[in-house]
């Protein structure tokens, strides 16, 4: 296969934001996740936990709680507003001020008709959920002290609210507070500190479960208002609770980073009286667990350490399958790096700024495995701060390195880069049709800009020096509403492929500005795709790790793709738990497809035999350790290289050198604040 010069880059200081809240919708199998910077992410649990949608953050928005009402998503935050999101256009639909100060919590009744929010001023406010908006209905009895958490009884007649030092039970119909449950403060020095009921759950048998800042999970009888049992599970705060749908299991997340499971069990097998028993402890986080979701088969947790962890409950899933493996989502499932192949310039996208770097240079040759002396180090050319309060949602750099575009949910900006990308000037005259975009892409010759906008349409703009000209809008034939998350233009400028979260892949003819064809819809969402420069075959990789190659000329799957489907991919390939985020090609060898996920990149050589299912899938590291003749014996079409880890981008420059952008997890961990102090043995 040969040698590659690799630019190994670790200066992309991407820092994910802490996870603040979570809501899981059993109906749609979607997990909504809110981060500290206000960004929202939607994960599709039925499609390999793929991060389907990302709603960029906003400076003033501090989401404290999330709530699904059917397919609609609501959030409430410390800015005192309730926001409903437009998941098709990836932006807030509207916000309503609750006029109760910061909102700590939000909850919907099981009928989906009333939203209750808990406010700083001690009120629980009820909002009626209407078709297009929500409307304030009334306040429940105002309490002294803030409402930190609340939970509806499944019947919708009672609400339990966690406050400082106590829990209140409200009658949802009359609005009267019916019970006051006093929560004990912590022992010792923390006796003088108010205890915060961080989270609360109201079960259908009128049991109330509360978790508080004194480290307790308490089980109450909600009818009589009596304490049934106290489980002290940590010295620190218990921040989050989540109960399974069948109310037989619950999980509690602590500041120590542990998640403790309780199950509703009878003490002996044949006895009927059941009790909440502490059963398992998971430690997958180094910092506070702020948000939890208990799905049917797994515990989903997230917190300060920014990772989303899906921990399957091994009694609910089959052992040693894909479902039984623990999953950690540390990085977004889309590329934040854009590489100008011709110019050797990299664009890094941060929520609040963009960075433009020029790669370093080296002369001379080295042996495989060694590194070359760097003649000229990488240079940071430009740091561009975004305007406004909205975070950047997408950005692109033209292959020539002469154009730079980014978009937020409210504005779109295009810049011209001159003098080797050193000077920058904003292109002020933009066509009116160029609205805020979900995804941006430049044509290979840098003459056109494609911007995906609402309803899966793509706006095509011709880039010219003084003025940019609107060429047209590409629209799929029928009413697609989902946002386009992938755009790929062919090298010859003839084709443009789009993929949306409904798993539809459309290919447009750019000469006619018309839909050329639609790739047969596959059940899993495309995670990366590209059009081959010479053969015009479209390679699409899906969230379930399947690879398809579709001939745009013949409008059918290619021979190789059929062979691949017939033989099936190797099980080790299918078991990888991060999606392929980038597909590119080797201009020197048309048979090569380069794909990349978080832990490896792989050069697929279509001319070589596919790895047999029964054989071991050798990666490059093991192949290297084998003697020469064995290597040939074991070599196969999938050249997997795991030398670089936590890959955010792999790209092949025009000079045939690889660009590899790594972001080691350790670098992220080292930037996190210190975790709560834990007594370690012998310290």
């Amino acid at each position: 296969m040969g040698e590659f010069k690799v630019h190994r880059i670790r200066f992309f200081d991407y820092m994910p934001s802490a996870i603040r809240a979570m809501a899981f919708s059993t109906r749609t199998e979607r997990l909504a996740l809110a981060r500290a910077d206000g960004a929202l992410e939607i994960f599709n649990f039925s499609d390999n936990y793929f991060q389907e949608k990302v709603l960029p953050g906003h400076d003033g928005r501090a989401v404290e709680a999330l709530c699904w009402v059917g397919p609609r998503l609501f959030s409430a935050g410390l800015n005192g507003e309730i926001t409903e999101y437009d998941l098709e256009n990836l932006r807030p639909r509207y916000t309503v001020d609750a006029y109760g100060g910061p909102i700590w919590t939000i909850g919907v009744n099981s009928q989906g008709t009333l939203l209750a929010v808990g406010c700083e001023d001690g009120t629980v406010k009820m909002f009626e959920v209407l078709k297009e908006r929500i409307q304030f209905q009334r306040n429940l009895d105002r309490q002294r002290g803030r409402i930190i958490s609340l939970s509806w009884h499944p019947s919708g007649t009672l609400i339990a609210a966690g406050m400082m030092d106590m829990i209140r039970i409200f009658d949802a119909e009359t609005g009267r507070a019916t019970h006051r449950l006093v929560v004990d403060r912590g022992a010792g020095a923390s006796k003088s500190k108010e205890v915060v009921v961080w989270s609360i759950a109201f079960l259908s048998d009128y049991t109330i479960i509360s978790s508080d800042s004194a480290g307790k999970v308490q089980i109450w009888d909600g009818l009589n208002g009596t304490l049934i049992r106290t489980h002290l599970i940590t010295k620190w705060d218990v921040l989050a609770l989540s109960v399974s749908q069948d109310e037989s299991s619950l999980v509690a997340g602590t500041s120590e980073g542990t998640v403790v499971q309780f199950q509703f069990l009878s003490s002996t097998v044949d006895r009927l009286d059941k009790d909440w028993v502490r059963t398992r402890t998971f430690k997958n986080h180094s910092h506070d667990v702020r948000a939890l979701a208990h799905t049917e088969t797994a515990v989903v947790s997230g917190g300060m350490d920014t990772q989303l962890v899906v921990r399957p409950l091994l009694d609910k899933v089959e052992k040693n399958t894909r479902e039984s493996a623990i999953r950690k989502v540390s990085f977004p499932h889309r590329s934040l790096v854009c590489c100008a192949k011709k110019a050797g310039v990299l664009l890094f996208q941060f929520p609040d700024h963009l960075e433009l770097w020029r790669l370093g240079e080296s002369d001379g040759y080295g042996k495989p495995g060694g590194s070359l002396p760097v003649k000229r180090g990488p240079e940071k050319l430009i740091q561009l701060k975004r305007k406004g309060e909205d975070h950047i949602c997408c950005s692109a750099l033209s292959p020539c390195g002469g154009w730079l575009a980014y978009s937020t949910v409210t504005s779109f900006r295009l810049y011209r880069l001159l003098n080797g990308s050193i000077s920058i000037c904003k292109v002020s005259k933009l066509p009116k049709d160029l609205r805020p975009a979900h995804q941006l892409c430049f044509s290979t010759d840098s003459s056109k800009l494609f911007a995906s906008s609402s309803n899966s349409s793509v706006v095509v703009v011709a880039l010219n020096e003084p003025e940019c000209k609107y060429l047209g809008t590409l629209k799929a034939k029928y009413g697609c509403r989902q946002p386009v998350h992938l755009l790929s233009a062919s090298e010859n400028g003839k084709w443009l492929a789009t993929a949306n979260t409904d798993c539809e892949v459309h290919v447009y003819n750019l000469d006619k500005l018309k839909l050329h064809c639609t790739v047969p819809v596959y059940g899993s969402c495309p995670t990366a795709m590209a059009i081959h420069p010479t053969t015009s075959n479209l390679v699409v990789v899906h969230a379930d790790q399947q690879i398809f190659e579709y001939s745009l000329v013949k409008k059918e799957y290619t021979e190789w793709s059929r062979r691949l489907q017939k033989q099936g991919l190797h099980s080790l390939w299918l078991e990888r738990d991060t999606p392929i985020t980038h597909v590119t090609f080797n201009p020197k060898n048309p048979a090569h497809i380069i794909v990349q996920d978080l832990f490896m990149f792989c050069i697929i050589d279509k001319s070589l035999p596919l790895p047999e299912a029964k054989n071991v899938l050798y990666n490059q590291m093991t192949l290297r350790s084998l003697p020469e003749p064995d290597r040939v014996l074991h070599s196969h079409g999938f050249k997997i290289c795991k030398d670089f880890q936590h890959l955010l981008c792999v790209s092949l420059l025009e000079d045939h050198s690889l660009v590899v952008v790594e972001r080691p997890l350790l670098d992220i961990v080292s930037q996190l604040p210190a975790p709560v102090r834990q007594k370690k043995f012998a310290t």
Partner: protein, 700 residues
């Protein structure tokens, strides 16, 4: 672990000479756990309040009549039902005083028994195998009764159980040496017949017991050769067509009880719960061949859980209701409460700590007049076992030799255990009798452990047989902490002169000799770890006199504070297994002189071990450094306040403190080294990539 508590007498048995049966025909549960109805074999039905050991009422049939079936209590109607003269069914209530005035009905065929259990209706089982509900029978007492059994077939045992949905009458029959089990369902009626597998020819089951669990009826039966079998019949087994052949009944061997000499004559096995079986009339495995024992066996682990000697003849009768066993023996009818907690491996091995709790929980035993008055009489029977072995010492030794030289080691383990415990108990009782060499031989077989013969170690201590002590400490894995401590106390307070006379295991003596020889060498060089420590410490303080004192003291430390043989014995103590929280309370019993001496010895060993030159030698049994350290810590824990207050020990404690310091220093140095080694490791592992590099990779 299952336990039998102190029993009490419910009533005396009529003194009938050489009668094979006890005179009790049946015991049935009454209204609650404290009442039973006892039917004797002649004319009398008595209602007892068990905890009061008191009869509440008694009903008798007229002279000339006999009761042929045990009286049962029908809880639904609160009536008693009994059969007299085979054909007359009698029903009465508690207020009826004279039985002959109560209701009676004569039926057309011979009645075997009337059965009634809580939750079920009374059922009448006829001699020829027919079954009727009592109510339907009484509606037409003279109705014809069919013959189910063939003419030669006779019922040997019967019972009645109620499941969730159905009532069953179960009975076994015998026909020319074949045994059959009949399962009669009621409402709808159906009959199943099973054939019991034949045991050795001529053996028929001595007793049956039936229980119902998990939708299965479990039949437990005991054969005279000591085999206890279990057969399981599903309640829902498909009903075979009428007249079908008897189905074979699969069985599994639950227990194979030791029988002693000959076959069992009168014995009974009763299932207590899923894991426990009570057996009466079978010899205790470690008490010879006397069959007058009541034992609880765990069937899961095949272990004996509890045993009790029952004075007098055993009639092979046993009933159990509500955690009480009812057993006629000799001239008494006793009630013995028992307890069968959930069985676990730990409890089966006797390792679970609940003995204390159980004792406190044991039902308050009511003093029985019998035992109060005839206690002396009861005692001789206890020692009946020991009377049998009265052979002189030489003969015993010869016999033991013979036994051990046998080649078949199949059941040597049990016999060795029996032998050892018999010898130990005899030696304890008879001061003139002691067979050290035989015991040593037995211990050397390694078949013994402390729980098999708990008296052995104490016996050895009593007889000052320290060699045996040493062997026991070496070979027994389960010596309790209290015994270890007793040994320690004896060893440490023993005079060196006495110790020198003791013959000990040569290996351990070699080791100790080597250790002490080292001592002289070290003394010549004038170097010791402690010395070095002292110097640095004291120089820092600048106390020259203190230094001299310490030197003197450390010179003294170089001497072994105890004699060679004593040291060997102490080493043995150091190597026994123990659990510190159990050991600690017993350690507190040591006198302070003993503690100081032992500490000095430990210090000595520690010093020796701290020398690089003297590592515990491979191959020889020797205490490890950790064991020495642990014992030191334990001793200090147990006696800290006393030691601190004793002025003589100050030097010793200071020295020990210095050890600790040196250990701490050593560990911290190790920690430092570990840190640097880790760094080295990291350096070797990955070269620093930095923020940016240009590399060459090769793909194959």
């Amino acid at each position: 672990m299952a336990a039998l508590y102190a029993g009490y007498t419910l009533r005396g048995l009529a003194p009938a000479q050489n009668r094979p049966n006890s005179g009790i025909q049946g015991v049935e549960a009454e209204r609650d756990s404290d009442h039973v109805v006892v039917t004797d074999s002649t004319r009398c039905v008595t209602l007892y309040k068990v905890s009061d050991q008191k009869p509440l009422s008694c009903w008798t049939v007229k002279q000339g009549h006999t009761l042929t079936g045990a009286a049962v209590y029908n809880a639904r109607t609160q009536e008693y039902v009994a059969v007299s003269d085979r054909k007359v069914i009698r029903i009465w209530k508690e207020d009826d005083i004279i039985l002959d005035k109560a209701f009676k009905a004569t039926v057309s065929s011979d009645v075997w028994r009337v059965h009634c259990v809580a939750g079920g209706d009374p059922v009448v089982l006829f001699h020829r195998g027919a079954v009727r509900l009592l109510d339907s029978l009484l509606s037409a007492p003279q109705q014809p009764i069919e013959e189910v059994l063939s003419p030669e077939e006779a019922i040997s045992w019967s019972t009645n159980i109620v499941t969730e949905s159905q009532q069953f009458v179960i009975f076994t029959t015998e026909q020319k040496g074949d045994h059959f089990l009949y399962l009669q369902r009621l409402n709808p009626n159906s009959l199943q017949r099973y054939h019991l597998e034949r045991e050795e020819p001529g053996l028929s089951p001595l007793s049956f017991s039936v229980s119902y669990r998990d939708k299965h009826i479990r039949l437990l039966y005991l054969y005279p050769n000591g085999h206890v079998y279990e057969s399981v019949v599903s309640v829902r087994a498909p009903v075979p067509e009428e007249g079908a052949q008897a189905l074979p009944l699969p069985r599994s061997l639950l227990l194979s009880l030791p029988v002693g000499e000959g076959l069992l004559q009168a014995a009974s096995a009763q299932e207590l719960d899923e894991a426990h079986v009570a057996v009466v009339g079978v010899p205790h495995p470690s008490a010879g061949s006397g069959k007058d024992f009541l034992c609880i066996w765990n069937t899961n682990f095949q272990t004996l859980q509890a045993g009790k000697e029952m004075a007098g003849k055993i009639y092979g009768q046993l009933w159990s209701f509500w955690n009480k066993l009812f057993i006629p023996h000799g001239k008494t009818f006793s009630v013995i409460p028992y307890d069968c907690p959930k069985s676990s491996l730990a409890s089966a091995l006797g390792k679970q700590r609940q003995v204390k709790k159980d004792e406190s929980k044991a039902p308050t035993s009511v003093p029985s007049w019998n035992t109060l008055l005839h206690e002396e009489k009861a005692h001789p029977s206890r020692t009946a076992e020991t009377r049998k072995t009265t052979a002189p010492v030489e003969e015993v030794q010869r016999e033991v030799q013979l036994l051990l030289s046998r080649t078949d080691t199949q059941d040597l383990q049990t016999s060795v255990g029996q032998l050892a415990s018999t010898l130990a108990s005899r030696s304890l009782n008879d001061p003139a009798f002691y067979t050290p060499s035989s015991l040593v031989q037995l211990v050397h077989t390694r078949y013994l452990c402390h729980s098999v013969c708990p008296d052995l170690v104490l016996l050895a201590l009593e007889r000052k047989d320290y060699f045996l002590c040493q062997l026991c400490l070496q070979f027994f894995p389960d010596i309790p902490e209290v015994v270890t401590c007793a040994c320690l106390k004896v060893f440490i307070s023993m005079s060196d002169v006495d110790a020198a006379k003791v013959n000990l295991e040569p290996d351990s003596v070699f080791f100790m000799e080597a250790l002490i020889a080292q001592e002289h060498e070290a003394g010549l060089n004038g170097f010791s770890l402690a010395d070095e420590e002292d110097r640095s410490d004291n120089l820092a303080e600048g106390g020259a006199t203190a230094q001299r004192d310490n030197e003197k003291a450390s010179a003294a430390e170089q001497m072994c504070p105890v004699g060679l043989h004593k040291a060997v014995l102490l080493n043995e103590i150091l190597q026994t297994a123990y659990f510190d929280s159990f050991l600690l309370p017993h350690l507190k019993d040591l006198s302070s002189q003993d503690v100081v001496l032992f500490l000095q010895y430990l210090q000595f060993v520690y010093l020796k071990f701290s020398h690089d030159a003297c590592k515990p030698t491979q191959g020889l049994r020797s205490p490890s450094l950790t064991q020495v350290m642990d014992w030191m810590g334990l001793l200090l824990d147990a006696h800290f306040t006393v030691l601190v207050m004793t002025p003589d020990v100050k030097d010793l404690l200071l020295n020990l403190h210095r050890f600790v310091k040196s250990q701490v220093r050593f560990v911290s140095e190790l920690g430092k080294i570990e840190g640097s080694l880790q760094e080295l490791d990291k350096m070797a592992l990955k070269r620093d990539v930095g923020q940016y590099s240009i590399e060459i990779i090769e793909l194959f």
